[in-house]
Symmetry: none
Subunit: 178 residues, 4 copies
Amino acid sequence: MSKPRERILNTTMILFHQQGYNNTGINQIIEDSAVSKASFYQHFKSKDDLCIEFLDKRYAYWISELENFISGAQTVEERFLKSFDFLIFMNEKENFRGCSFLNILSEIPSEKVEIHKVIRSHKKALRDAFNKDLKDDMLSDHIYLLFESCIVTSQLYRSNELIKKTKSIVQGLLLSSC
Amino acid sequence: MSKPRERILNTTMILFHQQGYNNTGINQIIEDSAVSKASFYQHFKSKDDLCIEFLDKRYAYWISELENFISGAQTVEERFLKSFDFLIFMNEKENFRGCSFLNILSEIPSEKVEIHKVIRSHKKALRDAFNKDLKDDMLSDHIYLLFESCIVTSQLYRSNELIKKTKSIVQGLLLSSC
Amino acid sequence: MSKPRERILNTTMILFHQQGYNNTGINQIIEDSAVSKASFYQHFKSKDDLCIEFLDKRYAYWISELENFISGAQTVEERFLKSFDFLIFMNEKENFRGCSFLNILSEIPSEKVEIHKVIRSHKKALRDAFNKDLKDDMLSDHIYLLFESCIVTSQLYRSNELIKKTKSIVQGLLLSSC
Amino acid sequence: MSKPRERILNTTMILFHQQGYNNTGINQIIEDSAVSKASFYQHFKSKDDLCIEFLDKRYAYWISELENFISGAQTVEERFLKSFDFLIFMNEKENFRGCSFLNILSEIPSEKVEIHKVIRSHKKALRDAFNKDLKDDMLSDHIYLLFESCIVTSQLYRSNELIKKTKSIVQGLLLSSC
DNA sequence: GATGAATGAGGGTTCATTCAT
DNA sequence: GATGAATGAACCCTCATTCAT
């Protein structure tokens, strides 16, 4: 069996994403991790602290999965389109739970400045990644916005329909930009 | 002073939107409403029940405010652009709290089917409203997606920057569609 | 059986005095009072809140017991001497637990301003009571100081020896003041 | 840097006196001492054990400071009066935290016999010191009682007022005893 | 001689809900 | 129609201590 800290993080990766932050109690985390309560607090200052580690780890995981998923793409256009396929892939894998960053953003009061900062910085990194791939600033933000929208609306309707539709839209945008 | 039921709803309209569902306790609601606990449960079966009433009332309020805000528009194009101005207006009025429907969607476990259904139906109504104004189905969904994205990202960054950018994008889309 | 609030207070009167504030947990209080935890917090905002009620109630109790004990005294001198007998009486009754106000003063960090204020005000009332009985300000404070000292040292040595000695001293002071 | 054991004791000297026994956790002690937890328990059997060492060290420190402070005195009377000045000096230096022995006495349940014994023995030593300086047993206890009272009441009111008053009283007592 | 990891028990507090009146 | 009292379950967190290395 792995070390407690690792077990806690593994459990948290699942629970925070699937159930949300407020719906996941420390008690469930330690039970699922087979760790004592005091042991948990030896490794994490507070639940908020764990949340930040979660957000960091989630971002690393999500980005690497995305990179991996689109790595076969030959052109920039293909990269973008595959990114949307990735959303479909993740929705099916994770049961349409949407974006952990936006979910937690909705849950956490704005007084928790640290967490908000982390969420923003990760989301900004994603937006920047879109920008890097395209010279046209306007176009990249345009696609980024559609991307975020796809995440949110597919969670909302528990369906990939709008993602597929968006793929056509994006294809059109990229064509007309050449 | 108005009737208890009304007072509860008025309080709830503020608290659920500003603090979220899980961060708002029944105790705060009844205290702010100057209503007894037993009285609360006489009017609402449960907190979930209140949540549904909240969602309905919030939708009615939000749509009517939107309609009112864009009522002066002469053309369809103007209506759309004014809709985005409305988002800016609301962000400033409500301190970038985003969309109550999406916020609660993030907070509530998917087992609470009833609430999810209500959220979906209201959001679908909004999407349909976009569709009604435009013959082009693809275009209206395109704009709808940008609209949702603007709500989410402006909440995230606590800034109207992307909304303004999106207005330009939408303007372009509407022009080229004629 | 009496009402929960009363039961809680009765339990608290015993436990805070006998065990001290920090050594008495909410759990023990509610168990001994046969009251649920949530019920406790319906009646008392916090443990600190309960502490303040305890201090008030303790003062009222202690003063009335004192008044009652010395009520038979014919002269001022007799009143004073009987006050010291009262300390002996209470030590035997309460197993040399000393003064709840001073005990809690020792336990509570000075940041808890409210509690410190209450302690001071009750102790000041006692000092003032000594002053009222004697024109000579210096003498009354002198006796007051010996009184406090008797409480503290009898708790310390778990013995009434010094109280008895002090009675002689006070007798001498009062004689020479005439 | 000094040895772990010494560092722990130095930290404890400050924390137990300033915050009290129950309000000072082992964690704070080892952190402030830059010592590992296991290392702590190698040097001290338990927190109670540390407490006893603290009491011993505190007594040695306090007495030596007192001796030093009053060492310039030419007469017995002066020695006594300077002792009260010492209380004022210490109150200002240590922010009116009173007597560690009495504070801990208030905090510790009487079942902890060992600690109570140590407290008593140190306090008895102080009382004996007063006795040594004066042939008159009654008078020395009288002054000793006023001394204890001054410690307690100055902590209570966070003021040296009563100490100054007591100095006059003691001066009177010593005069009339010659 | 020194350490970081791990713990059982308990700390105080809040939750949404029910019930007797 | 309205209420205050009462609750079981859960909340996040800290305590002094032990153990394997």
